[in-house]
């Protein structure tokens, strides 16, 4: 490489790389470092006092710190599992409806589904808090029409977390539908034509051709859905504040409350590190389970 080439390489890369280094990579390293310290977020980094693994022992211990953290961790795990379990099948089903061309409306459906993805989560939370309202809300009213008794939705610890999963799925499913459509367009048509010649039913075609060939798309969708799910914050911050009875206290909300509002920066960082490690484990597991290992023909 000549000198001018080196200069232009550095010139092109410097702004983006520098910004990401300062505002993402450095804080990432700091989070890991601070997780071994006791440190008030209100003071400078130099006041952090090394405490070894004490924060992590607190998270595992029997004090209220540990109990609250594990509750938030559990809520996030349930939340993530439910979100992924709803989003993936829905995205494939809706993707098929958008992708098919023998009936009209595919593009309309895509437009409607994807516009919900553009709506600020705060607005989503506000609107759904009204839709869920036990008395003035239309959801219980509609359930009543088909003979289902009114539900408690956000106001009971038993149903609050699921209610937030539902509003999040509503907001996000359009994005995953577009991903599914992208996967569907990659499947060669000739496979279906051959299957038709062999007399395979539509049901068989779906299980033997469509689903196996969507594997990589579904893997990508699952990873993104997991990462999105641990970020749920607005509906909790706005409507439930983690309640009722801590039933919607999720990781992003809990870490922010501990690390920013209560200024326990070391403890909050230890929670953030635990979250990141758990995410890495989940993503590695997803890859091992779903990756195409070439056993298909």
């Amino acid at each position: 490489m000549t000198g001018s080439q080196t200069r232009s390489t550095i010139g092109m890369l410097a702004p983006a790389t520098g910004l990401i280094a300062i505002f993402v990579l450095v804080p990432m390293v700091l989070t890991i470092g601070l997780s071994f310290t006791q440190w008030s977020t209100q003071t400078g980094f130099e006041t952090a006092a090394f405490v070894g693994l004490a924060n992590f022992f607190d998270l595992l211990g029997s004090s209220s710190i540990g109990r609250d953290f594990r509750a938030a961790f559990g809520n996030t795990a349930i939340y993530t599992l439910l979100s992924v379990a709803l989003i993936l099948p829905l995205s494939v089903m809706l993707g098929l409806l958008v992708h098919q061309t023998f009936a009209p409306g595919g593009i309309l459906l895509r437009t409607v589904l994807f516009s919900t993805y553009m709506v600020p989560m705060i607005a989503v939370a506000l609107v759904w808090s009204k839709l869920y309202s036990p008395t003035e809300g239309p959801i219980n009213q509609m359930l009543g029409w088909i003979g289902i008794p009114p539900q408690t939705w956000l106001s009971s610890p038993r149903t609050a977390l699921v209610s937030i999963v539902i509003l999040n799925v509503w907001q996000q499913v359009g994005y995953f539908t577009v991903l599914a459509v992208a996967g569907l367009t990659q499947i060669p048509r000739s496979l279906y034509e051959a299957a038709l010649v062999d007399g395979a039913s539509a049901w068989m075609q779906f299980w033997k051709i469509t689903l196996p060939l969507l594997r990589n798309t579904l893997l990508f969708s699952a990873v993104i859905a997991v990462i999105n799910a641990v970020q749920v914050f607005e509906p909790v911050a706005l409507i439930t504040q983690g309640g009722p009875v801590n039933s919607t206290n999720v990781m992003t909300y809990h870490i922010r409350r501990v690390g920013i509002e209560r200024a326990q920066g070391g403890l909050g960082s230890a929670m953030a590190v635990t979250l990141m490690l758990s995410l890495i484990v989940v993503i590695v597991l997803l890859f091992t389970l779903l990756r195409d290992r070439g056993e298909q023909k």
Partner: protein
């Protein structure tokens, strides 16, 4: 776009009707919350509180919109949101074009390693770095100001990734020819490469604008309760606490409708670019 494979079990018209109805039903159900939001913003306060709920406003009026402007500083919040979204978006487009060009067309030591490191940050939930970042912007004197919202968000890995995907497709001959003519690398990037990846620029513009118009966690944290600098989404959340006693749903819904408009309008006009870019990053990636 390939047609759905024709299979013969039901008569074609029967199947056509069934699928059309299914699509219509799902579209209506998906649109329902937003329709409800707009309808509720047009209702009178007493209509909003009726049990069972009234679906259609008896005398649709815009009173809630006038009132919401009084309760929160709506104009100021909109300007703040526009500032945040426009500054971050323009910066992201420029920094992503530059880095994407380097990763797509330059050969240098450690390129793939550096690219992988940057891409890894795409998968990092913001909460993981929130606490030290808050202290860091404090050191830089950016807390409690709009600059603090904007400065950490002037570049992102997704933009670099998207640009690299598209710029890879720009023919090398085009770039080499310009170099022979003595064009500088910046000239080449902005006069030749950028115009040939306009769909990617459109998609990134929309993604970045919508993301930063909607973003809540970081502005809420860094602004430290400085209400003058609040973007519309945070002002909206204050509306709910104001509203909690009064139960004036119309007000909240009017505010929500206004906040939703810019990103949704932008999307409806430019959705083609969104969809194409998702295909480019999600599948080919």
């Amino acid at each position: 776009m390939s047609a759905m494979r024709p299979y013969r079990r039901y008569p074609a018209t029967w199947r056509w009707t069934l699928v059309s109805l299914l699509i219509l039903a799902i579209a209506v159900a998906a649109a329902f919350p937003l329709v409800w939001m707009v309808l509720s913003s047009l209702k009178t306060p007493s209509e909003s509180m009726q049990v069972p709920p009234v679906w259609w406003p008896g005398s649709p009026n815009l009173n809630a919109y006038a009132e919401v402007a009084d309760v929160v500083n709506l104009g100021r919040s909109f300007i703040n949101s526009a500032f945040i979204a426009l500054v971050t978006t323009s910066a992201i487009v420029v920094t992503s074009l530059m880095a994407g060009y380097a990763f797509a067309k330059y050969r240098f030591k450690g390129r793939d390693w550096l690219f992988a490191l940057l891409i890894a940050t795409m998968f990092l939930p913001p909460i993981v770095t929130l606490i030290p970042l808050y202290r860091l912007t404090g050191y830089l004197g950016l807390n409690a100001s709009l600059l603090g919202v904007v400065v950490p968000n002037l570049a992102n890995a997704f933009g670099i990734f998207l640009m690299r995907q598209y710029i890879k497709g720009v023919p090398d001959d085009l770039i080499d020819a310009a170099r022979v003519d003595g064009a500088s690398e910046f000239m080449i990037l902005f006069k030749i490469v950028a115009p040939s990846v306009l769909p990617a620029i459109a998609a990134l513009t929309l993604f970045a604008f919508v993301y930063h118009w909607n973003s809540y966690l970081w502005p809420l944290t860094v602004l430290q309760g400085n209400t003058d600098q609040y973007p519309i989404v945070i002002s909206l959340s204050r509306l709910l606490s104001y509203n909690r006693g009064a139960m004036n749903t119309g007000l909240v819904m009017a505010g929500a409708t206004l906040a939703v408009l810019p990103p949704v309008i932008l999307f409806v006009f430019l959705q083609r670019f969104f969809v194409d870019s998702i295909v480019a990053t999600g599948v080919k990636g």
